[in-house]
Amino acid sequence: MKKSLKQLVIDTATRYIYLSLVIDGVEKQFVYEEGINNHSVTIIPYIEKMLKKENLILMNLDEVIVGIGPGSYTGVRIGVTVAKMIAYLNKIKIYKVSSLALLASSSNEPCVLGLIDARRGNAFMGFYKNESDKLTQIERDLLANIEEYKSKIEFEFDTVSVGVPNINKILNSDLLEAVEDVHGLTPNYLRITEAERNLRNEIKN
């Protein structure tokens, strides 16, 4: 009997928790739900429920795919921690992907701007392009002032901050990056902490 490939996708970098169970390239179960500060409560029970529906347990998984931000939203750490633990305990492959790519995959427009709010008019943003059945990146993920950044773009695009990811477009893409050392995996914060910024400024002055 051919062994099937069982992948678990986790992303908690936005207000929405996204979990997906993909078996041989087919999304069998998924959760996409808004949760105000409670990804920490729901993530494990949801994973358990999805696996149960397919008569699986964590140990049956072959790969974990995790959204690593960008963003400094507390939630991103929950998904990354859970993904790291699953991969480490079961010695399985782990891939990281931009949470902005996951967001962008929800749109079918040719050009998509994934956007995660970073307050004070700023956001984490990444430009992606829909090409037949896969997604490609056209501008790297960055943190910038929303209006300033958008005003420089000369083509039509769709801005996405909420939307159920289309996991097939991600799995078909080159946007997944294999993590060599699971212990070293951290979220992509894209900026140092305020405390570090202040300390560097102090040293400079």
Binding site: L58, R77, I78, I86, L89, H183, P187, T193, E196, L199
Partner: protein, 337 residues
């Protein structure tokens, strides 16, 4: 029974395996103190980032050190609060993954119960006992009539002892964390300033350290203004004498009133040499115990020990909805919640 302890409430990422609440097979502590020292205190966002970075590594090392597999573990005990919420959530979620992965029961443990049980590891417990909990976040006297029975007799009305140490150290230009440095300087100084002993005769078991702290800050400031030479060692000794006098006096009062069989001191400030010396010399009729130095600061061995007794007493595990809580009352765990 092997218990896997997990502690991430502040700035140490720690995992430990303890047998029957007592025998420590491994206790891995990834301390961030060198990182936070630069900032003069724990920066919550940095602490959370460091926990994520180190989390799988500490589990791996704890299992290797103990020469055990996850299949050998019967219970997972994880700190659920109080503490920095972003930090707590890393340990709680990592622990929940193990619980689901290997179908091992999990209990959320109160951080202070952990500090108290740090004493069980080396000294055991005889009831009723009195616990003085002193750390950067806590100053309280707790009466235990049996295992996992916590009755608060009194607590600080403002600053915790450890907090007062950090603030005084900062004013005196000493590095963070203040406790160990002030303790060290105090050894060569003398109690020349005779600072007030706050609430020493208050008749209850409460404490207050913010007035004493302000008093010291003002005196230091005035002396600077007058260009007087400041003897840091004497400042440290005078402060430490005042603080430990109050802590010891209240402990003795509670010990007599409740006729306890032993006194234990728990928390980071339990490492203070002045407090250790004074407490031991002033109490001679019953044993006074301090945890081993390794178990004074935050560590997962103490959480594993506390979790073992919590599970034994209530015979109840948490479900996977378990979450971290930044604030938590020790007395609320009476019904096993």
């Amino acid at each position: 029974m092997y218990v896997l302890g997990v502690e991430t409430s502040c700035d140490e990422t720690s995992v430990s395996i303890v047998k029957d609440g007592k025998e420590v097979l491994s206790n891995v502590v990834l301390s961030q103190i060198d990182i936070h020292r630069e900032y003069g205190g724990v920066v919550p966002e940095i602490a959370s980032r460091e926990h994520v970075k180190g989390i799988t590594y500490v589990f791996d090392k704890a299992l290797r050190d103990a020469k055990l597999n996850y299949e050998d573990i019967s219970l997972i005990a994880v700190t659920k609060g109080p503490g920095l919420i972003g930090s707590l959530l890393i340990g709680v979620n990592a622990a929940k993954v193990i619980s689901l992965n290997y179908n091992i029961p999990i209990v959320g443990v109160h951080h202070i119960a952990g500090h108290i049980y740090a004493n069980y590891i080396d000294n055991g417990m005889e009831f009723p006992l009195l616990a003085l909990v002193v750390s950067g976040g806590h100053t309280e006297l707790i009466l235990m009539n049996e295992h996992y029975d916590f009755n608060r007799l009194g607590e600080t009305q403002d600053d915790a002892v450890g907090e007062a140490y950090d603030k005084v150290a900062r004013v005196l230009g000493l590095p963070y964390p203040g406790g160990p440095v002030v303790d060290k300087m105090a050894k060569t100084g003398r109690d020349v300033y005779k600072f007030p002993r706050p609430m020493i005769d208050s008749g209850d078991f409460n404490f207050s350290f913010s007035g004493l702290k302000s008093h010291i800050i003002n005196l230091h400031h005035n002396m600077q203004q007058r260009n007087e030479t400041i003897n840091i060692e004497n400042f440290c000794a005078s402060f430490q004498e005042a603080v430990t006098d109050v802590l010891v006096a209240k402990t003795i009062k509670a010990k007599e009133q409740y006729k306890v069989k032993q006194v234990i001191v728990a928390g980071g400030v339990a490492a203070n040499s002045g407090l250790r010396k004074k407490m031991k010399s002033m109490i001679n009729d019953i044993p006074v115990y301090f945890p081993n130095m390794d178990y004074c600061t935050d560590n997962a061995a103490m959480i594993a020990s506390a979790g073992y007794f919590q599970y034994k007493k209530y015979n109840k595990a948490d479900d996977l909805l378990l979450n971290g809580q930044s604030r938590m009352n020790l007395e609320d765990i009476k019904n096993g919640n």
